[in-house]
């Protein structure tokens, strides 16, 4: 089956390119390799999914791009963001890059938002820090941003505190904050996992809308095949620190090649395929 | 602690026999830490005092630990009105300054070492009961307690088998810290003349005597003071050590 990456346009270059990424953690008498020669690309306007189970290395790959790995981690390989080699940047340069061209949306918005700080200030903070905008202008932009992620009454929301909002609303606030500096790349680590299905669907739609309207590229990390299928154009399947398979979402679902991918598909119960013996199907599919 | 246990063998001199000739001597080869106003060896007295302090602290902490755990676990497990009543009483006790409470209790019980133990023990009960209650409530939310109920375990068995083993760790850590505090409280009571009665040595009454001789014989105050400092520090460190030992994941 043909597998065309429609966002890879001739003449363009990828927003993010990771090649030969290796992440290791020294243990008492050995080093544990958690990311093993991973390569991936994100093209302009593309939503790229990274799917895997716990221990697959998907989150550590994302944290490598953000340079947010724990200090004892050893990192090798090459990561380029808009042509700049991230692993060679100083910590100060990296701080500038984060938030400005690169934004991170974590799984648990409740814990990522400062509970003692008003929403408006948190959303506007990147503008104050990176662009040295005055408070009043930053707050005005915060209102616009909160409106763009479909929060009702953004004028009142800016004066409220995070705990006054539900999990889904908090995740929208996080997304608004990530969008403040109009980054080229959003990295979202399991952004919908903590949410109820109805809210999850809304957040997924919001991310697609952001990509469609602003052309923002998104690296979407998830363990959930269903959500990945909903939102992504191109998918990397990770297993034990390696990329098991990559391809367009259609191809991965219609014609999975790698045994692990096939196992994953067979193991996932869906509404339209309720029957069967999942575990046995999964191990059969792996052969 | 070891020194306290083996006091009769370590101490070179009797702690209470008088030797008026040797009074108020400075530290020397014969009397390592000098002698006091009636010629008693300070080193020996300090070690014997450690013995009394440890005894008082041990009994007092046990009284506090057992009483507090009992009250706390019952309050935490049964909740509702039982909880409300027990914890209000504990808060009442807690609202007195510890020393004041101990002094009042001593005044009504009479001055003796035994009563000091009981009084200090009662001072500790509210603290332990609060900790036991909070820990029991945390364990109560764990699913293995629900699982135990589902298979039909009795309340008593759930408390003994599922809850107690999982709250001993914080309680013992707290006990080590309380031990240090008990040593201080006992010294304070003795300093005020409410604990060990002369001629029995206690860091508190030694300190009190030493106070009068600060100019001529500073070691009389410094030695028991240092002894207190070292034992308090020691028990706090022991508490930290216990915290590590009791982590079930270390097994």
């Amino acid at each position: 089956m043909s597998d065309v990456r429609k966002h890879r346009q001739p003449g363009a270059s990828p927003i993010l390119s990771v090649s030969d990424l290796v992440v290791e953690f020294p243990k008492r008498d050995e080093t544990v390799r958690v990311v093993d020669h991973v390569g991936l690309e994100v093209w302009p306007g593309e939503i790229v999914g990274v799917i895997g189970e716990s221990g697959s290395g998907k989150t550590l790959t994302a944290l490598s791009v953000l340079r947010l790995l724990p200090k004892r981690a050893r990192v090798a390989g090459e990561i380029q963001l808009g042509g700049r080699r991230i692993l060679e940047l100083s910590r100060r340069q990296m701080r500038q890059l984060r938030g400005d061209r690169l934004a991170f949306i974590p799984q648990d918005a409740m814990r990522a938002l400062n509970p003692t700080m008003q929403v408006g200030y948190q959303v506007g903070e990147p503008l104050i820090l990176h662009r040295r905008e005055p408070l009043r202008a930053a707050l005005a932009k915060a209102i616009t941003l909160l409106g763009s992620v479909h929060l009702r009454n953004p004028e009142t929301v800016i004066a409220q505190f995070p705990h006054q909002h539900s999990g889904g609303m908090q995740q929208r606030i996080m997304i608004a904050m990530g969008l403040a500096l109009e980054p080229e790349l959003l990295i979202a680590d399991e952004p919908t996992t903590a949410l109820d299905v109805t809210v999850q669907a809304q957040v997924v739609n919001l991310l697609k809308e952001i990509r469609d309207n602003k052309g923002t590229s998104i690296l979407f990390i998830s363990h959930d095949l269903g959500v990945i299928a909903e939102v992504c154009d191109w998918v990397y399947v990770m297993h034990r620190g390696k990329v098991a398979e990559e391809g367009s979402i259609e191809r991965i679902f219609n014609d999975p090649v790698d045994p692990y991918t096939r196992m994953l598909l067979a193991a996932t119960p869906t509404i339209s395929h309720p029957g069967g013996v999942l575990g046995r199907a999964a191990s059969a599919a792996r052969r | 602690m070891l020194a306290a246990l083996f006091a009769p063998w370590i101490a070179p001199y009797s702690p209470i026999e008088l030797d008026v000739v040797q009074m108020l001597q400075g530290p020397s080869a014969m009397h390592w830490l000098g002698t006091d106003e009636v010629g008693r060896d300070v080193f020996s007295r300090t070690i014997y005092a450690a013995r009394i302090s440890m005894q008082v602290a041990l009994i007092a902490v046990s009284v506090g630990l057992i009483g507090g755990t009992l009250i706390g676990v019952v309050a935490g497990y049964f909740g509702g009105v039982v909880d409300l009543a027990l914890m209000r009483v504990m808060e009442l006790l807690f609202s007195f300054p510890a020393i004041l409470l101990a002094v009042v209790l001593m005044a009504s019980l009479g001055t003796s070492v035994l009563n000091a133990m009981v009084a200090i023990g009662i001072v500790f009960i509210p603290g332990f009961s609060r900790l036991a209650r909070a820990s029991a409530q945390a364990v109560l939310r764990e699913q293995y307690v629900e699982a135990a109920r589902t298979v039909g375990m009795s309340d008593m068995r759930i408390i003994l088998r599922e809850i107690l083993p999982n709250i001993v760790a914080p309680l013992l850590v707290e006990a080590a810290v309380a031990f240090a505090y008990a040593v201080l409280l006992e010294s304070a009571l003795s300093f005020l003349g409410l604990g060990a009665q002369p001629p029995d040595p206690s860091w508190g009454n030694m300190l009190n005597t030493g106070r009068g001789f600060m100019a001529q014989a500073p070691w009389l105050g410094i030695v028991p003071g240092m002894a207190m400092f070292i034992s308090v520090l020691g028990f706090n460190l022991l508490g930290d050590g216990l915290r590590d030992v009791f982590d079930p994941h270390m097994r």
Binding site: L264, L265, I271 | Y144, P248
Partner: protein, 274 residues
């Protein structure tokens, strides 16, 4: 025909707060729920967070006392039961809980954990209990030698197998499950769901299975009840609820679940019928 295995009749639960100045009536977590579960049937209860589904399960398990209404299990009112009736309920109805990490007393070995229900109900001698524990471990696909391990030495999937072993060691008629696979990876979830199915069939169990995951509920249930804000909004045979939902909320819930096969068609070469 005899009475259904589980009858929940107009149960209300409000979490009241008892304070110094009397009782404060709390909001209703369960607001007039009635359900029945027939013998040998699995009822799936699905709902979002705060719907009251886990509270309802705890009411049936006699872990929480209802404010009003009654729960009958095998013909016995769980809150009126005393003595031998209560012991019978405790033997006949078991549970598997959500969080593998907190399901076991960390200070007991797996063997002691599995033997506890047998001790409580006075089953056999020490020797025969130990033999039965080994047998149960093997039945759930674990080596009998695992009895000497501590819970933290096991993986999440192994812990849920042990939880299933604990639930069936008394040979109960009813096993209730509260999100038993929510904390697991999909490949492990698939194995645990298979095991649960196999054991249900083997012991002809009656079951209530609570989950937020509609696909899992669809997979395990004969009947499905949809909960929202403490009420049942719709209940019926699983196939009917998913194919032809009557309630608006049920419809919205089902529409929100991503279904890749509806979007992309079936995978061609998995080599297994899905």
């Amino acid at each position: 025909m005899s009475e259904p295995a589980i009858v929940i009749a107009d149960v209300v639960k409000s979490f009241d707060q008892i304070g110094l100045f009397g009782r404060k009536i709390g909001p209703r977590a369960i607001d007039g729920v009635s359900l029945t579960v027939q013998r040998g049937e699995t009822l799936g209860i699905v709902g979002e967070s705060g719907s009251g589904k886990s509270t309802l399960l705890r009411l049936v398990l006699r872990l929480i006392r209802p404010t009003s209404g009654s729960v009958r299990v095998e013909g016995r009112d769980v809150w009126a039961a005393r003595g031998s009736d209560l012991r019978a309920i405790r033997r006949e109805m078991q549970a598997v809980f959500q969080d593998p990490a907190s399901s076991f007393n960390p200070r007991q070995t797996i063997g002691a954990i599995l033997a506890a229900p047998l001790e409580v109900h006075g089953f056999g001698s020490r020797q025969s209990r130990r033999a039965l524990v080994g047998e149960m471990l093997e039945r759930v696909g674990l080596p009998a030698a695992m009895a000497t391990r501590y819970p933290h030495q096991l993986s999440g999937g192994q812990k849920q197998r042990v939880a299933i072993a604990r639930a069936i060691i008394l040979k109960p008629a009813i096993v209730l499950a509260d999100e038993p696979t929510s904390a697991l990876d999909v490949s492990v979830q698939a194995q645990i769901l298979d095991l649960f199915e196999e054991i249900k069939r083997g012991l002809a169990l009656t079951s209530i299975f609570v989950s937020h995951n509609l696909a899992v509920i669809r997979h395990v249930s004969d009947h499905v009840a949809v909960m929202r804000r403490g009420r049942i909004v719709e209940v019926g045979p699983a196939a009917q609820i998913f194919a032809n939902p009557q309630n608006d909320y049920t419809r919205a819930l089902i529409a929100a679940v991503p279904d890749p096969y509806a979007k992309f068609g079936n995978p061609r070469n998995l080599g297994v019928p899905l």
